[in-house]
């Protein structure tokens, strides 16, 4: 499972960057990971040491700090499901949440993020928790209940009272903004990266 995972993510990275640029991207992310806890993370990863950074450090990163779903994001991408991330998990997270990841991959992970009880279905309680996180608990209980009913009405295709992955993907596929706006740690990270990448590539090739 872990190998396949790594292959898939590296595949994404290789698709984004032909081989010789992969190292720059990886090293940039690696240094961000390391900067969170320099004393825990060794510089030499050739022996694949088993280092996990606790959730508190991950959750303090600027991309995640204000996101109401940061805990779920960390839990979904971490191996132990508690939010403590290894370097692989960290790279996974940034790859999926970058602009280059395909829509289906993003939809899959978005589904997992909104599935609070990890039962592969978004049920009513998951929806209520999502809604409360989105609106800072400022809707009344009645309103929350009404909205959740409406959502399940609209999106549930197999009529089992909860959303499966297929229902979710079916709905997401019709959203043109999903790729661009949702599920993206965009602009500041990747576009500055792209600019610096271009300069670096020019240096390498010239």
């Amino acid at each position: 499972m872990k190998n396949k995972h790594l292959q898939k993510i590296s595949f994404i990275i290789l698709k984004m960057f032909p081989n010789f640029k992969q190292q720059y991207f990886l090293s940039r992310l690696f240094h961000r990971y390391r900067d969170l806890a320099p004393q825990l993370v060794p510089l030499d990863y050739t022996n694949q040491p088993d280092v996990r950074l606790p959730y508190e450090l991950i959750g303090s990163m600027p991309e995640l700090k204000d996101n109401p779903f940061r805990q779920r994001i960390a839990e979904v991408f971490s191996e132990d499901g508690e939010g403590n991330m290894t370097l692989d998990d960290f790279l996974d997270m940034f790859s999926v949440l970058s602009e280059m990841a395909p829509r289906d991959l993003k939809a899959y992970y978005a589904f997992k993020i909104y599935d609070f009880n990890n039962d592969n279905f978004i049920c009513k309680s998951d929806l209520e928790k999502t809604l409360n996180k989105l609106t800072r608990n400022e809707l009344t209980e009645d309103e929350v209940r009404m909205v959740c009913e409406k959502v399940i009405d609209e999106a549930d295709l197999d009529n089992d009272g909860r959303l499966s992955l297929e229902d979710f993907q079916h709905m997401i596929v019709r959203a043109p903004d999903f790729l661009r706006e949702v599920c993206n740690f965009h602009h500041r990270f990747t576009s500055t990266m792209r600019g610096k990448m271009r300069k670096k590539i020019q240096e390498i090739t010239l």
């Binding site: 960057f17 109401p68 400022e138 959502v151 019709r174 903004d177 990448m197």
Partner: protein, 643 residues
């Protein structure tokens, strides 16, 4: 796995197209960086949301439009006039090339005397500045100062009347083109967001509402407020729908008749405002004594623009429509009020100038216009527009200084319940934008008669930008309700277009129908302003005439062709989007290779100028693409997103 083979020519073409695309993106980046007030507007968007930002973007658009119009006017009309007035050309003649009208019996029409004989007291300069009379009247400011000079010297000829007319015409066409371009761009975004295929509703809002790229507490709070408000509005509409469905027949009938009654009340208020403006205009034209009477139309118009929408809001509370319908109704009423009241003012001016349209009766007999009251009617119209603009500006500043800043001081320092309930100012986007549209329409209506009005308006809008920005940051609280900016943007450009149409009616009527003044202006010796064009045309050589005829006929077909081509392109773009989405939904049932335009591998072609069409099959990773989504991973390399 297949390795795609690309020919040399193919790869060169691909390389070129990518280089061009990158160049275009870079150019767009550079232009965006040079845009006026970019950082300020970005900051406003981050603090207050898209709706307030759209107001400032609209304002910036109008500033640039006015500045460019002024440059147009200046280079073709004002500067040549200045040059010809100060420098006398050898062999120049200021005789008109227009046929002289029979001047016998028209002595009463030639009594224009803009310079008062009486000794001027020092404060009259200030009064003149406010009302456009006195030293301002006979200056480059107004139509009356320009002469019908035709300069012919050593192979160079310049016809001021023709230049004046054609510049005014081009000015209107230029503004029309700019507005259409901007509104088309807005409507693109609008169409994308509101295609039928995108399901609106709660599920979309919840699952695609959150932007994961947001950073910072303020932006997150803003977004959360956005979502909260949208959900609340949707729930409210739902509740109203349920309630309406549960009413009995008599209750429904009662509600509808009550609504009709309230509509009539609103209509009565608006019509009353119109009558007030017409009466004020008539009264002020007859006796021009004192500043107050001169400004009477402006005062009445501004008062009605404040009072009537406020009353309509109170009435709307009893109408019990859903929130979106209420907002749309309020907007429509405000638009009708503002634009039609301006039209009423212009109409009553016209009535006075042309003696109710019948130019052969009463006061209008000798000169075909009311020469008793108006020795130079174009200058008077220009003065009225100038006064409207100035008054609008003064009132805006006065509101800021006398209402908004004190309100904030009171709210911050006094803690009694009533004051706290009223609370801090909220920046109301629709009424502010309508005020801008109104100001711009006044400028358009007056541009023919007051060539310096665009630059005055530019300065006015620039000052208003900084004042509104100041009041926004100091006095306003962030909106609890956000404003849907995409659809409204398009609506505001539409209203601007209606204002332009109104002003062009004024232009066309003045140019083609009303007799120009005998004693002032560049058209003083012709029947109508328009006659300059045919006369000049006939004085050209035959070949030039034939060429212009030919160009004129082409000039119809070419813009039409371009317009229809760009329309066709829009349709193609939409059709492509629809096909994509349809293909995606088909793909749900059988996973297959996605259409080229949908593949997301836009990473590789963006950098480095060379893309990697043939991946190295030796790295073991390529041989196992099965991991999750086999459809994405086939045929890599040549896929890049087409836009």
């Amino acid at each position: 796995m297949k390795v795609p083979v690309v020919t040399r020519w193919g790869s060169w073409r691909i390389h070129q197209s990518k280089a061009f695309r990158r160049f275009r993106e870079d150019a767009k980046d550079v232009l965006a960086k040079l845009a006026l007030w970019r950082k300020t507007i970005h900051k406003i968007g981050g603090h207050f949301g898209g709706g307030v930002q759209s107001y400032f973007l609209f304002l910036r658009f109008l500033v640039i439009l006015n500045l460019l119009s002024f440059l147009l006017m200046a280079s073709f009309v004002i500067i040549p006039s200045i040059v010809f007035n100060t420098v006398s050309f050898s062999g120049s003649s200021s005789i008109d090339s227009l046929p002289s009208v029979n001047m016998t019996g028209k002595e009463e029409c030639l009594r224009y005397d803009p310079n008062p004989e009486a000794l001027t007291v020092f404060y009259t300069y200030f009064l003149d500045l406010l009302s456009g009379t006195g030293f301002m009247e006979y200056s480059y400011m107004f139509y009356g100062f320009y002469n019908n000079t035709l300069v012919i010297s050593s192979g160079f000829s310049y016809n001021i009347p023709l230049a004046y007319l054609l510049t005014a015409a081009f000015y209107f066409l230029f503004c029309l083109a700019c507005i259409i371009v901007r509104s088309v761009r807005c409507s693109h975004r609008l169409q994308l967001k509101h295609t039928v295929l995108v399901p609106s509703g709660y599920s979309m809002l919840i699952f695609t509402g959150w932007d994961y790229g947001l950073q910072g507490e303020r932006a997150t709070q803003l977004k959360q407020n956005n979502l909260l408000y949208q959900l609340q509005v949707d729930l409210e509409e739902e509740r109203i729908k349920q309630k309406a469905a549960s009413l009995t027949l008599t209750q429904t009938v009662g509600l509808y008749s009550f609504r009709i009654f309230l509509h009539l009340v609103v209509l009565a208020m608006i019509v009353g405002a119109f009558f007030g403006i017409a009466a004020a205009t008539q009264f002020s034209q007859v006796s021009i004594v004192g500043l107050l009477l001169e400004y009477l139309p402006s005062i009445v118009m501004t008062t009605s623009n404040f009072v009537v929408p406020f009353m309509c809001d109170q009435v709307a509370r009893f109408e019990k429509y859903s929130p979106s319908v209420t907002i749309i109704l309020a907007l429509l009423r405000a638009v009708i009020l503002r634009l039609v009241s301006l039209a009423v003012l212009l109409y009553s001016l016209w009535k006075q100038i042309t003696c109710d349209g019948d130019v052969n009766t009463g006061k209008c007999t000798p000169c075909s216009y009311n020469s008793e009251q108006y020795q130079c009617w174009e200058t008077r119209v220009g003065q009225e527009m100038y006064k409207l603009t100035l008054f609008d500006f003064l009132i805006t500043i006065a509101m800021l200084v006398l209402v908004e800043f004190p309100r904030r001081f009171v709210v911050d320092n006094c803690s009694c319940k009533l004051v706290q309930w009223v609370g801090r100012q909220e920046f109301l986007v629709p009424s502010n934008i309508l005020a801008l549209v109104y100001g711009q329409t006044v400028v358009w209506a007056g541009a023919l008669f007051c060539p310096l009005l665009p630059i005055i308006n530019t300065i006015k809008f620039i000052i208003i930008f900084y004042c509104k920005k100041g009041t926004l940051f100091q006095n306003c609280r962030p909106a609890l309700r956000t404003f849907r900016s995409t659809s409204s943007n398009f609506f505001f450009f539409l209203v601007l277009l209606i204002g332009l149409m109104l002003a062009s009616v004024v232009l066309i009527y003045s140019v083609a129908i009303i007799h120009p003044s005998y004693d002032c202006g560049p058209f003083r010796f012709s029947e109508t302003m328009w006659l300059v064009v045919p006369n000049t045309f006939h004085s050209l050589s035959n070949t030039t005439q034939e060429f212009l005829f030919y160009a004129g006929s082409q000039a119809f077909s070419i813009p039409l062709f371009i317009f229809s081509w760009s329309e066709g392109r829009d349709k193609q773009f939409l059709v492509k989007q629809i096909k994509e989405i349809a293909a995606l939904s088909k793909e749900e049932q059988e996973p297959q290779q996605p259409p080229r335009s949908q593949a997301q591998w836009n990473g590789a072609p963006h950098w480095g100028g060379q893309h990697n069409p043939a991946f190295d099959p030796d790295t073991g990773m390529m041989t196992q693409p099965r991991a999750f989504f086999p459809d994405e991973f086939e045929n890599p390399g040549l896929h890049y997103r087409e836009e």
